[in-house]
């Protein structure tokens, strides 16, 4: 089960590829075939189960494409 997940607002993406460079688990790539509404090859996730929810992609993205989720930390109750 993945620790994190990202939701991509596909039509905001301009395919600049900065997120692809910084993703520490290497699960982002620009869609080789698909185009978005603006005519760019948008980013896509290849293996969501590897996502750690680190938000590196969101922090470098110039177009606020990503919403990032992470598994809630379970605090051990005393």
């Amino acid at each position: 089960m993945a620790k994190g997940m990202v939701v991509i607002d596909v039509d905001r993406c301009k395919g600049c590829g900065l997120c692809v460079q910084v993703c520490p688990v290497g699960i982002l790539q620009l869609s080789p075939d698909a185009f978005n509404a603006k005519g760019y090859h948008p980013v896509m996730v290849t293996e969501m189960e590897k996502c750690t929810g680190c938000a590196s992609c969101a922090r470098i993205c110039p177009d606020v494409v990503f919403t990032v989720y992470r598994k809630k930390r379970v605090r051990k109750s005393a």
């Binding site: 969101a58 177009d63 990032v68």
Partner: protein
């Protein structure tokens, strides 16, 4: 395109769209750091809870349309005059938070006088100064911060310092003014530097909120379109070539600014 995504119940959101940013598409080229910096400013405005008393001053340059992207009040200045306009706003509305967003031409060429005097008067303003060493909007001409030897559309043989002078070290100059309380140069060229830049922007806004004086965050940036590089390559190039001319760091930070707790 509307997509409904089911978020598992055990997941919490760790990054979402900043409330102080309008949900519209920007006109910037793919990979342009303006988008990153807009987002950082919006995050800071959100975190400081100042959206409803914040007034931005837009520059002339690629970010001329910045007012379309923020969910805060904005005015549009003439090229280089943002610090003067911001002074007029802040002096008549001292309880508001006023920031200028300026490029290198705005700040270090046509508006040098306004920038230095606003800093020297210690205007309670925050400037985000984006330095990408080129005039992007007008098509890639030489900027005051263009590196020696750098080819632009108005220095086709490279910037000859005998003809065109040297890159203007604006942050070093501003740091000489007594009215400035926080003058720093950061870069937005990789993940760690983006995180640091956000912290600097936050400190600069907090310095204004604490009524301490003028603050400016210079951010080394790129123009992959006019530099003819991919977005990532331009970031690598900037780190390698701009940082030696424009060293990073805090050129001025008063004790009061240092004491601000920036989370």
């Amino acid at each position: 395109m509307s997509v409904t995504v089911n978020i598992p119940a055990d997941m919490e959101v760790v990054y979402e769209y900043p409330r102080s940013m309008n949900k519209v598409y920007t006109h910037y080229c793919p990979g342009c750091p303006h988008g990153i910096l807009h987002r950082l400013i919006a995050e800071v405005i959100d975190e400081l809870g100042i959206q409803d008393r914040c007034i931005g001053v837009a520059p002339v340059g690629c970010s001329v349309l910045i007012y379309k992207y923020f969910n805060v009040d904005f005015v549009e200045a003439a090229h280089g005059r943002a610090p003067a306009m911001a002074t007029g706003i802040k002096r008549t509305n001292p309880d508001k938070i006023v920031f200028t967003y300026q490029g290198d031409g705005d700040m270090a060429a046509i508006g040098t006088a306004e920038a230095i005097h606003a800093a020297n008067r210690g205007e309670r303003l925050t400037t985000v100064f984006v330095n990408n060493a080129i005039y992007g909007m007008t098509g890639g001409q030489m900027a005051p911060t263009t590196l020696p030897g750098m080819v632009t559309t108005s220095t086709p043989m490279g910037r000859d310092v005998r003809l065109a002078g040297y890159p203007v070290p604006m942050s070093e100059i501003l740091a000489q003014t007594k009215g400035a309380v926080y003058i720093t140069r950061q870069m937005a060229l990789d993940l760690p530097s983006i995180v640091k830049t956000k912290k600097a922007i936050k400190r600069a806004f907090m310095a204004q909120m604490a009524d301490l004086g003028y603050s400016s965050v210079e951010v080394l940036s790129t123009c992959n379109t006019n530099w003819n590089m991919s977005p990532w390559d331009s970031m690598v190039w900037a780190k390698e070539h701009m940082v030696p001319t424009f060293p990073l760091g805090d050129f001025k930070m008063t004790d009061e600014v240092r004491a601000l707790k920036v989370r």
